[in-house]
């Protein structure tokens, strides 16, 4: 990977996880990490009782940064303190949600931060064997992580009897091979077991009960694990003061698409609005262009239309909850408001589209992605994702038939909620939201008359001459 261009953080950013990203002279080596206070939080953590670390993580209110936003403390709480089976921890570094590119920088520029977060988490959960599942398209990242593990092992931050605590831990890097579905945690576990990445049925058993090798397993995103280190340093209560209640900490937002300056920003959750993100942080739209639509949390998140109005609940001046109507530019970038607006904060990948973009072309691009990435286990998703792509592809090349938008909707409606994993929703939501919100654009491309299902000459009366 060529040297990344160094960027000065925006004054309104609060860099915690990204503190060392794009810093002049900062290298991914252990020496550099140690010179910047590295592994001090690990020393603090190993002196704490295990239950206290878990309690701090619960108190921090940290929500998973992979996409679903599930409470990290609650997930950890599923591991029984008196568990007799081995417990495993897997770092999900299969970053592949279109629009998301945050973990790439942590892995390539600050791998020891991730390792320290992981080692602390393993200590807290009594894990002796952990894996980093990194996507196959990050060969350089895999090498950097392997080097970081070797360095950390040589200094006894890792390995048998780490830091003289009597605690043994091994971490290995496991490379994926180009399948998006491996980002789904049970698909990832299957893949790590050496099988096709077919997600497992849940409930009843979540990975925290039956995960890798049928043992309790915690799967956490790269950004989530990095945050663990900072929670140990600050204390859970202090960390919870960052951001907003139920939306604590910082968030890495990745902006791509039609803005002047795309990029990544670390901000307190909910501290900025969509408008501030696009205008102040990203320099606004390109000259002469206006905003048309935003996908706010990775490609699976439902699209937001620029002229939509959203009803949300917010505190008024007296602290009472009132219903408020806001435009897209006033949406605060947090988990709960984004959900209230009918989309999701997801993985933090914001894709911006201006008025030059054809929404059918955009949807077709996403449909091609989902059709390619469906693992093929469940019929609605395997067939439906491809069917939706075929329809948008045909519409795009001028063959849109009357009723195509309705067929698209009916196919999407029959995928969401009818599959083993959330890929079903992920591939249905773009189609559902694009067709519903830009109906006029789809309608003008769906004009060809639909041919009769059975040509008249094959109808039974014609074949039998009316003597059936």
């Amino acid at each position: 990977m060529p040297a990344p261009s160094t960027r000065t953080p925006h004054p309104r950013e609060r860099r915690i996880v990204f503190a060392n990203i794009d810093r002049d002279g900062y290298t991914p080596d252990l020496d550099c990490y140690l010179a910047n206070g590295g592994y001090e939080d690990l020393r603090k953590a190993v002196a704490m009782p295990r239950a206290d670390i878990v309690a701090e993580v619960k108190a921090s209110g940290l929500r998973g940064r992979g996409g679903a936003g599930f409470s990290c403390g609650t997930k950890w709480g599923f591991i029984k303190p008196d568990e007799t089976k081995p417990v495993y921890l897997i770092c999900n570094a299969d970053e592949s949600e279109p629009g998301t590119f945050k973990d790439r920088y942590i892995i390539h520029q600050d791998p020891h931060q991730l390792l320290e977060g992981m080692i602390i988490s393993c200590f807290a959960l009594n894990v002796h064997l952990a894996y980093i599942y990194i996507r196959g398209e990050f060969p350089e990242g895999a090498k950097l992580l392997e080097k970081a593990i070797t360095e950390a092992r040589a200094k006894n931050f890792l390995g048998p009897n780490l830091l003289g605590t009597g605690f043994d831990l091994e971490i290995y890097v496991h490379r994926g091979a180009g399948a998006y579905i491996c980002g789904e945690e049970t698909g990832l576990i299957e893949s790590l077991e050496g099988k096709r990445a077919y997600p497992r049925i849940k409930p009843p058993f979540f990975p925290a009960v039956l995960g890798l090798y049928q043992c309790p397993t915690i799967v956490n995103n790269v950004e989530t694990l990095c945050n663990i280190k900072h929670i140990v340093r600050m204390g859970g209560a202090e960390y919870a003061k960052i951001g907003k209640p139920n939306n604590t900490g910082t968030r890495l937002l990745c902006v791509s698409g039609d803005v002047q300056k795309p990029g990544y920003f670390e901000v307190e959750v909910g501290s900025i609005t969509m408008g501030e993100l696009l205008n102040d942080f990203c320099g606004g739209m390109k000259p002469g262009r206006t905003l048309k639509a935003v996908i706010p949390g990775g490609s699976s998140a439902k699209v937001l239309r620029a002229d939509e109005r959203y009803k949300i609940k917010a505190k008024d001046g007296d602290g009472a909850m009132v219903e408020k109507e806001i435009g897209i530019m006033d949406i605060p970038m947090d988990f709960d408001t984004m959900a209230a607006c009918g989309s999701m904060a997801g993985s933090g990948g914001v894709i911006v589209m201006d008025d030059s973009r054809d929404m059918l072309w955009v949807l077709n691009n996403l449909n091609e992605f989902y059709a390619h990435e469906s693992c093929g286990q469940c019929t609605p998703c395997r067939e439906g994702a491809l069917w939706m792509r075929k329809i948008t592809d045909r519409m795009l090349s001028g063959g849109g038939a009357e009723g195509d938008p309705e067929v698209l909707e009916s196919v999407a409606d029959n995928i969401a909620g009818k599959t083993i994993c959330a890929f079903g929703e992920a591939c249905a939501w773009p189609t559902q939201s694009f067709v519903a919100k830009f109906r006029e654009e789809f309608a003008v491309r769906a004009t060809k008359p639909v041919p009769q299902a059975t040509p008249p000459e094959y109808l039974s009366e014609a074949l039998t001459g009316g003597h059936a």
Partner: protein, 166 residues
């Protein structure tokens, strides 16, 4: 098929990373074989299966499932271009056309599931593949030549980048 001792050492090292189940080493072994031989042959599938005490179908089903594995050789240098939304908006399709034109390759739109191996340029130097999101959406269009990563690739940069590999 000759397995050189250096590769064998790497294979045994990889298997040692999975003390609970050798089967977990199947993806790492496939990576090692593809890096060394350029693709996954029938012999390789049988060899890996025996090594991990599995049936060959257990390995074949991985080769056909994971997009990165191929059954036939690619060019000496394999180029992956990101196709997904942010890169497409930044000009990924134009970039692919330019790379195909420069290397003399056919420019069909999606090498969808090209497990049989991608098309190789007449001189055998290059093969090109459209891949899904490479997770660098803010600096599109992006591509990889072998393990080297290139961001914000302008069409005019293409001959210069490719000349490094000629």
């Amino acid at each position: 098929m000759q397995i050189p001792p250096t590769l064998l050492t790497k294979i045994d090292e990889a298997i040692s990373h999975y003390p609970v189940s050798k089967r977990s080493a199947s993806l790492p072994l496939l990576h090692l074989f593809q890096e060394h031989f350029g693709f996954i042959s029938d012999e390789a599938i049988v060899w890996i299966a025996q090594k991990l005490e599995l049936e060959p179908i257990n390995i074949l089903e991985l080769v056909t499932f994971y997009p990165m594995f191929r059954r036939a050789a690619a060019g000496k240098h394999h180029i992956r271009i990101c196709r997904t939304l942010s890169c497409a908006m930044a000009g990924a399709y134009e970039l692919k056309a330019k790379i195909c034109q420069t290397t003399g390759l056919p420019c069909d739109n999606h090498a969808n599931g090209n497990h049989g191996g991608p098309a190789v340029s007449p001189d055998g130097k290059f093969s090109v593949e459209f891949v899904e999101c490479l997770a660098s959406c803010g600096s599109g269009p992006v591509c990889m030549v072998d393990d080297d990563f290139y961001e914000e690739v302008a069409l005019d940069d293409v001959p210069k980048i490719l000349s490094k590999y000629r």
